[in-house]
Symmetry: C2
Subunit: 205 residues, 2 copies
Amino acid sequence: MTANIPDIVIGRLPIYLRALSRLAVEGHEVTSSHELGRRLGISSAQIRKDLSHFGGFGKQGTGYQISYLVEQLRQVLKVDQEWEVALIGAGDLGTALMHYKGFSDRGFRIACVFDNAPQKIGKKIGDLDIHAIADMQSVIKERGIKIAMIAVPAEKAQEVADKLIEAGVQAILNYAPMTLNVPGNVKVQYIDPVVNMQRMTFYLV
Amino acid sequence: MTANIPDIVIGRLPIYLRALSRLAVEGHEVTSSHELGRRLGISSAQIRKDLSHFGGFGKQGTGYQISYLVEQLRQVLKVDQEWEVALIGAGDLGTALMHYKGFSDRGFRIACVFDNAPQKIGKKIGDLDIHAIADMQSVIKERGIKIAMIAVPAEKAQEVADKLIEAGVQAILNYAPMTLNVPGNVKVQYIDPVVNMQRMTFYLV
């Protein structure tokens, strides 16, 4: 049922899930495509069409049952489980990611941290020991980890990515400011705040 | 000449600029749409078409002069200047952003930091004093700041955004995990690592 959903629709589902979770926290039990659309700046027609890919959500006129829709979206996105994530890089950014509280209730937990700096290896961040990057592949294979966050300098990122993929990682969130070369079966998402800001300066007057 | 460029093309230009800057650092002087495409996983035809919006870059067969193209892209994106950025939120994330070295040579400088926690106000991060959010609007107006980064909890983000926009901010990079409501003349970009990871888990096997 979910096999042929376009990438662009999949890309919007986490945004719907986030907004619906927030509505639930605010005490709402039902919502409508109009209310969601208003909150997200997306047309209600688009939202109805996107959600119709999964069939059976909401009925004309009665709106969406939020808890049901949240559960369906979590299943579709496979975040009705907790994924172990490997973090590579224990600098300022890696440390901030370790302290970030927002992963666990949304499907993710940083399960291991790696860095190459001798003065960091063996130290703790939060309740995790920092391991050497030399041990990365064996830990990832042993734990069957599929997702990694790369928070190392740009010039090291491709090498780290190659090793991660060799060890079985299928999804990479890359904070290094460069584009990775990966095989077609590996997903990469990028976080580079400068790219985001440069996408806006063009429009500034 | 650059007035009618589609949003989606503008969105790719920072990626081209980043890759070209990297090629320059690696010592290259010229490149081709094929080389760029290979590095970025984008077709060379797409790259030629995107860059043709600005006219006159590169000639058939001779490739692109990297330094010239970098300069053109910096002008088009208006990052041939340094933008002052206001940072709101001096928690773990705000602190990591303050320490991030990658802003300055790409067009941005965090010029002021605001937080509401009494124990933080008046302290320093890097060489900046943390100011109270109560002073945010006057500082932003006085300095004519147009760009802000929001790194406060989700439940505070809309209120902060409203105040920023009232003070003249036209572009917001929002790290709070929620969608902002803003007027049509204000640009927002979002960074939420969980959304990025949830966009990949669907595909994991």
